[in-house]
């Protein structure tokens, strides 16, 4: 599958997982280059976690194959896991253990017995190593899991919804830490349903929908077709054809309110609005579903 000269960090071919009759993922092809920050986005239930769990051999693929650093996800799973740090979407650890003990337990699997990095990371993410894990809040549990994923300085970080439950300060610290790790050569596979979050940090992004990869985009090109959701309220009903502007899609006018998606030049839109009796305007980022519907309408019509 791969030549030795160029080993991909993650490579899947036709990776498929069915739970009995229910579709998990179907024919997922991915190619993640070593050293990149690769986004993996899709709405809930698209199969992001299924893909990750299959890569980590928690799930047995129905068909297809996958490699991590050229190693087969089924045969060489142990060797793969030695080089991977995984942050699950939902964090669960053993009861009645102190955070420090849990992290030491986790680190020993990788032969890390020196607690220095643990203490460094604990400092950075404000994790109290003496607390009982069970007593922690959701966000604090997540922080412990972040530490567990980073402690052995893995070559590949697989993050499933990493910011869920984190306050903005810690989110920023995580982003900063990920950039640092990446600068040291760590490949990052970043799964999320929040587009803006992925845009902030990733170079490329694969878009998953209904268990299939519907597109792989450079973030820069996604930015160019940046989509805005525009809602306007006028003091009188706008004339028909008032929004005859390039980049206006799915225009809906209801009395004096109107809404549309816009992917043209913002300057043009503002110039147009300047001459109109606008009472109120909202410009917001559309949710992922709308982005997908907009960009990937064709792939949906199967």
């Amino acid at each position: 599958m791969t030549d030795t000269a160029h080993r991909l960090a993650i490579e899947t071919r036709g990776l498929t997982k069915f739970y009995k009759k229910t579709r998990g993922i179907e024919d997922v092809d991915l190619e993640v280059e070593p050293g990149e920050i690769f986004g993996f986005i899709g709405p809930n239930g698209a199969g992001k976690s299924t893909t990750i769990r299959t890569l980590l051999s928690l799930l047995y693929p129905t068909r297809g194959e996958g490699r991590v650093f050229g190693l087969d996800i089924l045969r060489d799973s142990k060797a793969i896991k030695r080089r991977v740090g995984y942050l699950p979407a939902e964090v669960n650890f053993y009861d009645r253990l102190k955070v420090g003990d849990l992290l030491a337990y986790s680190a020993r699997f990788y032969g890390v017995v020196d607690g220095r990095r643990t203490r460094e990371l604990a400092e950075r993410f404000k994790v109290d190593l003496e607390r009982d894990f069970t007593d922690l809040s959701l966000g604090n549990k997540k922080k412990v899991a972040i530490l567990a994923a980073l402690i052995h300085s893995p070559e590949l970080l697989i993050l499933d919804e990493p910011t869920g439950g984190l306050d903005p300060l810690i989110q920023a610290r995580l982003t900063e830490t990920l950039r640092e790790e990446n600068a040291r050569g760590t490949t990052i596979f970043y799964s999320s349903h929040v587009l803006s979050e992925v845009q902030k940090i990733c170079g490329r992004v694969a878009i998953l929908k209904g268990g299939r990869v519907v597109g792989v985009e450079e973030i820069s090109s996604l930015r160019q077709k940046q989509l805005k959701k525009v809602r306007l309220s006028f003091s009188k009903t706008p004339e028909p054809g008032a929004f005859d502007l390039e980049g206006v899609h799915e225009l809906e006018v209801k009395d004096r309110d109107c809404r549309f998606l816009f992917d043209g030049r913002i300057g043009d839109l503002l110039a147009l609005l300047a001459g109109m009796p606008v009472n109120d305007v909202t410009l917001e980022e559309p949710d992922l579903e709308e982005v997908f519907l907009h960009f990937y309408k064709d792939s949906e019509d199967e």
């Binding site: 739970y19 980590l56 799930l59 699950p88 053993y94 009645r96 253990l97 337990y105």
Partner: protein, 271 residues
């Protein structure tokens, strides 16, 4: 085998096993407390007439009680031991075995453990080793306490060999049930039903084994139950068939271990 997992499991389950040690030793001690009183009052002689009635005799036999052997200290100890240590110990073992595996899935910690650099086989072996150590410790405690209790409550000599025979068979019985627990947990699609299934298996086999002792025609039938392979009528005669009993328990455990490995290696961990 991964020492990290092994030591963690020992640590996590030590307290529970210590509590069970205390419970089993306590129950045995409690029953032995009554032994001098029971002998002195001659209650067994009185009861003998009552229990020669076939109905009551059948009931007692179900629980492995033999009036004749009850009068000796060892017979008395072994009779109660068969109810407490064998039944409760088997429950402890099967729940520990199944819990070691199923709780990882039920409490979703499997996602942590199985994304560590260990194979599924190593996870199983480490957990099985932990079960072996814990169950062996539990048995050692109960047996040692048994020696002490017998020394305290009777001056009459008893057959140490017979006591040890019952003890090692009980130990192997528990280990075998521990292995059954692993297999049940490995086979279960969803971890929630595991505890109930395990309780059912142990209680079911216990009852089958007991009922089969009631009449001669059902005796052979009892051997579908592991409990039936522990020789409890040891006071009446010399111990017999030690080797095939040991072979049976070890064979049963080995089959379950093998089965768990085959199933768990390719199991989907659904969380």
């Amino acid at each position: 085998m991964n020492t990290n997992i092994f030591l963690m499991e020992l640590r996590r389950h030590l307290r529970g096993i210590l509590i069970w040690c205390a419970v089993l030793v306590g129950l045995n001690a409690f029953m032995m407390l009554f032994y001098p009183l029971v002998i002195e009052s001659g209650v067994f002689e009185h009861l003998n007439t009552l229990f020669s009635n076939p109905f009551f005799k059948g009931m007692l036999t179900t629980f492995g009680v033999d009036m004749k052997s009850m009068t000796s200290a060892l017979g008395y100890y072994v009779t109660y031991n068969a109810i407490y240590t064998m039944l409760l110990g088997s429950l402890v073992a099967i729940l520990l075995g199944s819990g070691l595996l199923a709780r990882e899935e039920k409490e979703k910690t499997a996602e942590f453990l199985l994304t560590k650099p260990v194979t599924r086989g190593e996870v199983l072996n480490s957990k099985m080793a932990a079960l072996g150590v814990l169950i062996t410790g539990l048995n050692l405690a109960v047996v040692l306490a048994g020696f002490v209790l017998l020394a305290v409550f009777t001056d009459a000599p008893y057959d140490v060999g017979a006591f040890l025979t019952v003890s090692w068979q009980t130990w192997l019985l528990m280990l075998a049930f521990g292995a059954v627990g692993f297999l049940v947990a490995a086979l279960a699609k969803r971890a929630r039903a595991v505890t109930g299934a395990c309780l059912g298996i142990v209680l079911g086999f216990y009852i089958v084994s007991g009922l089969s002792r009631v009449s001669e025609s059902t005796r052979a039938f009892g051997f579908i139950s592991p409990f039936r392979f522990v020789q409890t009528d040891i006071i009446a005669g010399a111990s017999s068939g030690g080797w095939w009993r040991a072979a049976y328990f070890i064979g049963l455990a080995a089959l379950c271990v093998l089965g768990s490995h085959l199933v768990y290696r390719r199991k989907d961990i659904l969380l």
